[in-house]
């Protein structure tokens, strides 16, 4: 019997798990996929917003501003990457400047610090590639950028270090209530008993809720966002996050420098019917180019290395929905977490545990808040590199030449605290295959390293999900029959 089972290992579930692992309680995280954080957390803008945009006196406003500050703490403890870019919200004419004034007031009311207006001259000095039709901007120095997926894996790793458990490929199909506790059934029939359940299942949160109650007050209305990724060589072309004036549809199409040097362009914002329709479209990609024209006409589109789409778990409820079920005690919903969910995530975890659950278990005496960052070999000094290669010669074998990733880093990713044995799982952890050639050169080597390290035949190594092998059939083996 677990004290807490968290359904979903996205940024919300993983940070809740880590927060709970500070207390003397048992914690299990379930994810239906073959890896952690495979959906919204892996496909978003990666921005830690300042909190200028959410409506005043909402949970979104409060937890966004609080979450932004908590990331500084996470940076130290979990060793996550943070790029302190700051942001400009830009206006082009009187009407937009008026909207900027409103945004300024809202930001002040939300408690965002150090905000100020800057002139056209200051904008173009800081960002020479921006359009000269921009007349004024609101500068938001507290805006930052992170690698959201790494936040999730570092949180899960640290939770595991402090006693939590994680199970992948664990698709919850039903939940029974037994004498005030819960029994969760997985797709494979396995039952899991727990006193409390935290529903942090993103776009599936209304579906999970429906397993235990009929009148869940919200419905997920999935919203798709499409993006372009520019090669790392675009680094420094844009130094700040650039927002247009927000509209009812959202924050608009943005320019976002990324922690690894890439630049992200997007997202579009489109309501869709299917919760898993994460596809890019000709219309969407056209829209990105069109909308960005008002920000800059000097965007190097020839440097696009990848496109992707993410699904945001927007809902019919106007705010984040973070509440205990009205009828099922010990069942907690963390639902409708769309933007600024990434920013708010660390504050959501604390809010849930301290204000909603009001946990009364004692704090662990030996809680270790620190997560050691895996070695990123190419960033080390020459002396350090030589020393490490002497200890582990596989640091000498460069596998991904675009991102300069060595064989040992791939081995570390396979066997890490939340290791993974798939091509994309390794890409997410070690960045092998994230560069210019998108794995064209190194994918075959990565498959061989995974097979060797996990004692599996080559034809069992999956792309990402279960049953997705890249090498499907060996050609030179004759049937024994």
């Amino acid at each position: 019997m677990y004290d807490y089972v968290i359904i979903g290992s996205g940024i919300i579930g993983s940070l809740i798990a880590r927060e709970l692992s500070k207390y003397e309680v048992s914690v299990l995280i379930l994810d239906k996929e073959n890896d952690i954080a495979s959906h919204q957390t892996t496909a978003n803008s990666a921005i830690i917003h300042s909190g200028h945009d959410p409506k005043e006196n909402t949970l979104k406003a409060r937890l966004c501003v609080a979450g932004n500050r908590l990331y500084d703490e996470l940076e130290k403890e979990l060793n996550i990457p943070l790029l302190r870019t700051g942001a400009f919200v830009v206006a082009h004419d009187e009407e937009e400047e008026k909207a900027l004034e409103e945004l300024y007031k809202r930001a002040v009311n939300n408690g965002v610090q150090s905000i100020h207006f800057i002139s056209q001259k200051e904008i173009l000095e800081a960002e020479p590639l921006l359009s000269s039709s921009i007349t004024k901007a609101l500068s938001l120095p507290s805006t930052k950028v992170t690698y959201p997926w790494e936040v999730a894996i570092s949180a899960v790793s640290n939770a595991i270090k402090n006693g939590a458990e994680f199970k992948r490929n664990s698709h919850v199909v039903s939940i029974d209530k037994i004498n005030g506790t819960y029994r969760i059934y997985l797709e494979n029939g396995e039952p899991i008993n727990t006193r409390n359940i935290i529903n942090a299942s993103g776009v599936s949160s209304d579906h999970i809720a429906s397993m235990i109650e009929d009148d869940f007050p919200l419905k997920i209305t999935p919203r798709r966002g499409e993006y372009f990724v520019l090669d790392r060589k675009a680094k420094d072309l844009f130094k700040h996050v650039i927002y247009p004036i927000p509209s009812k549809a959202g924050k608009g199409v943005l320019i976002v420098p990324q922690v690894h040097g890439n630049v992200l362009l997007g997202p579009t914002s489109e309501n869709i019917d299917e919760k898993d329709e994460a596809s890019t479209t000709l219309i969407g990609m056209k829209k990105i180019r069109h909308d960005l024209l008002s920000l800059s006409n000097q965007i190097p589109y020839h440097m696009i290395i990848r496109t992707f789409a993410g699904i945001r778990a927007s809902s019919t409820y106007d705010d984040f929905y973070i509440q205990e079920s009205k009828i099922n005690k010990g069942f907690y919903h963390v639902a409708g977490i769309d933007s600024p969910g990434l920013t708010a995530a660390p504050a959501i975890a604390k809010y849930l545990i301290e204000d909603i659950i009001r946990i009364n278990a004692p704090l662990k005496k030996n809680f270790d808040p620190m997560r050691e960052k895996p070695i990123v070999f190419h960033k080390l000094s020459d002396d350090m590199k030589i020393k490490l290669i002497q200890e582990k010669p596989k640091y000498g074998n460069l596998v991904c030449k675009c991102e300069k990733i060595t064989e040992q880093e791939i081995i570390d990713a396979i066997h890490g605290p939340v290791g993974n044995d798939t091509v994309k799982g390794i890409k997410k952890r070690a960045r092998a295959g994230s560069g210019l050639c998108q794995g064209g050169y190194c994918e075959g080597q990565v498959i061989k390293i995974i097979a060797r390290e996990t004692n599996q035949p080559l034809s069992h190594i999956n792309y990402y999900q279960k049953d997705t092998p890249i090498l499907i059939k060996e050609t030179k083996i004759h049937d024994k029959n």
Binding site: M285, F308, P393, N397, K401, C437, G440, E443
Partner: protein, 419 residues
Amino acid sequence: MIKTDLVIIGGGAAGLSAALAASDANLNILIIERELILGGILNQCIHNGFGLHMFKEELTGPEYAMRYIDELQHKNIEVLLGTTVIDITKPDDFMLTVTSEKDGYQHITSRSVIIASGCYERTRGAIQIPGERPKGIMPAGSAQRYLNMDGYLVGKNIFILGSGDIGLIMARRMTLEGAKVLGVAEIMPYSNGLTRNIVQCLDDFDIPLFLSHTITDIKGKDVLEKITIQKVNERFEPIEGTEREFEVDTLLLSIGLIPDVTLFDSLKMEKSDITKSAIVNQHLMSSVDGLFICGNALHVHDLVDWVSEEGEKAGKYAKAYILSDEKQSREHLKVNPGAKIRYVVPQLIDYSHLNEPVTLSFRTTEKMIAGTFKVYQNNQVIMTKKAKYIAPAEMENIILQPDDFISFDPITVILEEAL
């Protein structure tokens, strides 16, 4: 620290012939190859058709490579296998940082360097094919390597985007291994592969080629299930109502090759936006003194024979550079691509050292049955060459003698259609 006269980066077709051409009893030459065997991409090209020009024989890729590798054994040439160059700088001589599992981190100094690092395949991201992102989509060359070197098929029902030669070769190869190739789509109104490959790899196997078509949707959550192709107009925009769906588990991309010179950014050599590689003179030397480039790392060739020829040239001139032992000043004139010509290599001619014939290699922007290539200087035609069956997929060349030039002003290559 290893000290040498000439480092050749890449032990494929270009690097091997460069090494042989440069070899000399008095020179220390070092080939650095990241794979554990020499031969480069030739090792995965197990079909025949290589060497028709070089050896007047039809060889397979590995056989072709072996001709050079065998010859290498008798020369004063060293080879570092399983070793990757991760940085080059040029404080005075070249300083290379290399890494391998066997020898770890090492520095090498060299008086001259030849880049023969080949090319990489253009990806789905680079051309932004819309749709979902399931497994089963990969560059045709990756599938070729998996099949021919590792012995694994990547799928059973295949569609191929792009009619580049690797895609065509793979259409035949996958068919022979029992896979079903449902078609090849090419966005241009003509094929981007060699005519002989269209005939021998598609026509002979009844594989349809959809010209002026591209992929406009990809379906499949975890594994590829279906693709949609559409006809495009002259502006390459999809035409509504022309959608056709194919149920496939694999999509191979043969949409272009790009010279792989990303490791050499720290050298700040001048680059061409069209070839995506160095700007060179007729000696294949880049703007960095002593740095030569050849083969698919310089521009993508249609036949390996031409790669070898270019490697040989780079080897010969690198050797002359090292042996000349004096700093030379160079005066360049520009070689411009004119009407219906996409690019010309070399982009510069060093007329202060113009004492041998100069070969201009180039590609056209249009397909035509017959035409005339003309080279202009000071508004005068200094050379003409007639050609038949001209296509962007095939590399053309013109040889200019030193006394063909009438001045030191730029020259322009153009193509005129024969009426």
